[in-house]
Subunit: 97 residues, 2 copies
DNA sequence: CAATACTTGCCAATAATTGTCAAGACAATA
DNA sequence: TATTGTCTTGACAATTATTGGCAAGTATTG
């Protein structure tokens, strides 16, 4: 029920003494949404990652990677064949699609 | 617009001279659905994979792996950070979650 | 040319996701 | 303990997505 990207965002936000409200206004959503995003209770839209990186002065690529890893994890969690499937996909993308 | 699992299912089905209709009845869906599944136009439910393996006398784990790889691919396709994210997830699951 | 197999586009029903709101919990401070 | 400010929670209606099935279409087979 937590997410890597959510944890990271909360970490960045609190370290910079930003309030939920402040992030919320820049992202143009209710504070409750940000609260839930940080705690992995609501998904974060991909377009929002770039904005968040901006607000939080973080590396866009790093956040994108965390976000993507979360998406992948949601797919494989609890799947017995996760390992094999991951390998197969890695191979596939290495060969230019 | 095609899928690994779909291709495999069609391959298995035709090799055994089974009609869409026959597979459809066992899966209790319209033939059009199977047609679309095989061509990657409609998603296949995970529970259906086991049934399909049964009908097609195929290895359940192999089909599950193909199915899962397709799911993963849908998430990463077109994503610049795909590679890194995949690595990160592989690592994560190797450490017992 | 039948007859049979498969494909396609569309629809209504259902399910999932969305943002918002109001009330609640919690912490610090007076 | 009251007050204030921050964050959390749950419920809700509205929108959006997904579903399966039908009917008409296009191949394919004999």
């Amino acid at each position: 029920m937590t997410s890597q990207i959510g944890d990271k965002i909360r970490e960045l936000r609190t370290k910079q003494n930003l309030l939920l409200r402040q992030v919320a206004s820049k992202l143009e959503v209710d504070t409750s949404i940000i609260s839930k995003m940080e705690r992995g209770e609501r998904p974060i839209k991909q377009e929002q990652i770039a904005i968040l990186a901006d607000i939080l002065k973080a590396d866009k690529e790093e956040l994108q990677t965390l976000w993507l890893a979360d998406q992948l994890y949601n797919v494989i969690e609890g799947q017995p064949m996760a390992d094999e499937a991951l390998k197969s996909v890695s191979k596939k993308i290495k060969k230019g699609k």
